[in-house]
Amino acid sequence: MKTLTLDQVDDLALGATLLGTGGGGDPYVARLMLRQAISTYGPVGIVDARELPADGLVMTVAVVGAPTVLLEKIPAGTEFVAAIEALASYLGRAPVALMPIEVGGFNTLVPMAVAAEMGLPVVDADGMRRAFPQVEMTVFTLAGIKASPMSVADEKGNLCVFETNTNQLGETLVRGAVMSLTLANAFSSYSMNASSVIQHAITGSVTYCMELGRLLAAVQRGEEGAYGRFLSASDGRIIFSGVISDVHRETTEGFSKGTVTIESRDNAERVMQVAIQNEFLVAWENGEPVVTVPDLICILDAETAIPINTETLGYGQRVNVVGLPCAPEWHQEGMLEVAGPRAFGFDLDYKGWLT
């Protein structure tokens, strides 16, 4: 077992911002939550699922709600414990560890803070190793593991547990509950045994996130050769460098959609376009797809190497577009239906990782 200490929180948060691929929620508040939880309760154990009893229960926990409400309504901490305990009580057993659903964005850090408070370890695994907007967009779905049963709780002692036959109905019920519980809540789903985590989850994603954060922080400090080390550890590529010449946005049905256009400074003929749907999903150069979802597209400030999210993109920014391959666990039957370009409405085949 490894431990997550206070001095590693910033690397983890930076890695989470990177793997948010432009979305996933700003981890600012989550980072402060985790710092406070570790200061109060001590460091968090990070375990390999194989260190847990095979039939031990692993539970996930996340924030669910409206991003603008979460800016005003900071979590209490108690709602996460309540959501976990309610679902554990429904299942009739207590968890041996917690796990993030998504390592990417805000929800990467939440299970760590809750685990510190509950005295549980966190499994070094997740269901996405990037951010996605919907709860069924996981490798668990590929393995036939359902999000249900699931629970939603608030900070005042209100909670509910759902069991549904389909993920769609689950999503509908969760949205209804969250509306009534004031749009800033705790959510637990995808409970599974440690043996299922070993078999079906993306393993090592927490340490991957922290390592990428650590290497990117070195790039930001301007250390010699740091970009090379960052790219080689992540198997990433700088797929384009240039200046943002246009940002087109529209908000439809609660999702922010749009396109960002980047022009090369060296060669006026070269133009990259990146499609946004909460996250960056597809990158085209001169009309040809270069990187497609579920592989990751990250836009970094060319000078500071700070990851730029979809809200802060602006005309004139000088950027590097970095492609990262998705977790290898995604490459199995059903990936394209759950998380390929067509799952987001693009009339486009999955490009495959750059070779």
């Binding site: 600012y28 402060l32 406070q36 800016l71 309504k73 900071i74």
Partner: protein, 510 residues
């Protein structure tokens, strides 16, 4: 005709101008900022008022980076007791959690609102009364509350209780008056406001004493981030609102001196350069969170890029080219630069050697400079300025560029993305001029029920009241106009409540 005194205290220089009612500059002065900034203010007032009829000076306006420097250097900041009304929510992040050091005591108590206007919990009045112990120990209080930008009843009630217990004069900063949506950022801004009370008092008293000691009987004002004036009393209560007034004054001064309302403004000082955008004569405001001394806040600030490039920036030739900055000799450029008889190669020396700066020191001191070094350093300057100007523009459309400040000579005659480069007359004291032409303003901040009368009727009433209050503050009625309208809807509340903030501003009347 009456006269106005504009003063700007920057990190490197203290500038002052004496301006007549028509906006003409009668006298200007620029001198290094003194160790105690108040000495520099006094010297500047003396220099520009020499020979003038002092009885005609009716108004004195001060813009200063004093508060910003106090935060950056952590000098003179008061201890703050923080009261957050939000429990049982928000307990996972304590007030001031990302402050670099511990300046505060804090309590999170029951109260605050949901997004839909319902209370999270009823206000715990007893807990607020108990909080007076911490408040008394600290000497100043910051109060924050969940969703207070839309509902500020709980903050007002908490202030009432604290005033009952601690007296009417006890300084209390309320978050809904300081910042916008984003509890932690607004709370941080409120803590800063509370911590700056002592610094603000020193500045306001210093200005008043300096005026009195020179026999000037003028109304004194402090300039705000948005280019309007605060009375001394308001400046004492809301110091955070003047934090970024230096760059604002510089931008507004530049635009008025050049007779333009829309432009990129590049203000090159001794140590750093600020680049901002003027829209309709006012600085474009930043939409993103703003970091002040490492603390994330969200009050309204001009959208600026600052970079380490100034007249005193140190240039170091090396085998592969040159390294420029980021360190600077600052105001010692008049003694340490080569052309000043010193031994440090600065951007001012480069500018002299490259023909951009004339009549500054002894040009023969840079005769032996390698022309390649000069070219490389100037290319670096041009490249940096062009990149940052492009970043600040919201679109590809070229805009005029106004170069101001003591280091404006460094800006090349042509900058890509700029339709022209203009150095207006008196460009070196644009910031003090900007302070002198700041406008009087009036604001309305109230919750209206759109159910009982129409939205347009409510907005019209708010506009009229803001205009009247600006005129009351001294604005010329003929030139007063609405400068901003912000509506924060309280959605899902029966009757459709909405917080409306309207601001009006106009130049001071004769």
């Amino acid at each position: 005709m009456m006269l106005r005194l504009g003063i700007d205290v920057g990190g490197t220089n203290t500038d002052a101008v004496l301006v007549d009612g028509a906006g003409a500059v009668l006298a200007a002065h620029k001198a290094p900022t003194t160790a105690d900034p108040l000495d520099g203010i006094s010297a500047a007032i003396q220099a520009v008022s020499r020979g003038a009829d002092l009885s005609r000076i009716r108004q004195a306006m001060l813009g200063t980076t004093h508060s910003a420097n106090a935060i950056i250097q952590r000098l003179g900041l008061g201890r703050v007791a923080v009261l957050r009304l939000a429990a049982p929510s928000s307990l996972a992040v304590s007030p001031g959690a990302d402050w670099p050091d511990d300046l505060r005591d804090s309590v999170i108590t029951e109260g605050g609102y949901e997004y839909d206007g319902r209370v999270i919990a009823d206000l715990d009045e007893e807990a607020i009364r108990r909080f007076t112990t911490e408040a008394q120990k600290a000497g100043t209080v910051a109060v924050s509350c969940a969703f207070s930008p839309a509902n500020f009843e709980h903050e007002l009630r908490a202030a009432e209780i604290l005033a009952e217990e601690l007296g009417e004069d006890f300084p209390i900063s309320l978050s809904h008056r300081v910042g916008t949506l984003g509890l932690l950022e607004r709370e941080n801004a409120t803590i800063l406001n509370a911590a700056l009370q002592g610094v603000a008092k020193a500045v306001v008293d210093g200005l008043d004493n300096a005026l009195a000691s020179h026999g000037i009987d003028a109304a004194s004002y402090i300039t705000q981030n948005d280019g309007t004036l605060m009375t001394s009393a308001h400046a004492l209560a809301m110091p955070v609102l003047s934090l970024a007034s230096g760059p604002t004054n510089s931008m507004r001064g530049a635009c008025s001196l050049a007779g333009l309302a829309d432009a990129i403004v590049v203000d090159v000082g001794g140590t750093s350069t600020d680049i901002g955008i003027l829209v309709d004569g006012f600085p474009r405001e930043s939409a993103a969170a703003v970091y002040v001394g490492g603390v994330r806040t969200n009050f309204r600030m001009p959208d600026l890029i600052s970079m380490g490039l100034g007249g005193g920036t140190i240039v170091r030739p090396d085998v592969t080219g040159v390294t420029v900055g980021p360190d600077s000799v600052g105001y010692r450029v008049t003694s340490d630069a080569l052309v000043s008889g010193g031994s440090t190669l600065t951007l001012s020396d480069i500018s002299v050697a490259g023909g951009r700066l004339q009549d500054f020191g002894d040009a023969s001191a840079v005769d032996d400079l390698d022309p390649a070094t000069v070219d490389r350093a100037l290319s670096w300057v041009d490249e940096q300025l062009a990149a940052h100007c492009e970043r600040m523009k919201a679109s590809r459309r070229p805009m005029p560029l106004l170069a101001v400040g003591g280091g404006a000579h460094l800006v090349s005659e042509r900058v890509s993305g700029a339709s022209e480069v203009i150095r207006p007359r008196h460009y070196e004291v644009a910031n003090a001029f900007g302070a002198a032409i700041s406008e009087a303003s009036g604001t309305v901040d109230r919750v209206y029920q759109y159910g009982s009368s129409s939205r347009e009727e409510c907005l019209e009433a708010a506009r009229a009241e803001a205009l009247a209050s600006a005129v009351e503050a001294g604005a010329d009625p003929d030139q007063t106009r609405i400068t901003s309208v912000v509506e924060v809807p309280m959605t899902y509340v029966p009757g459709g409540g909405c917080r409306v903030q309207v601001k009006a501003a106009g130049p001071l009347g004769g």
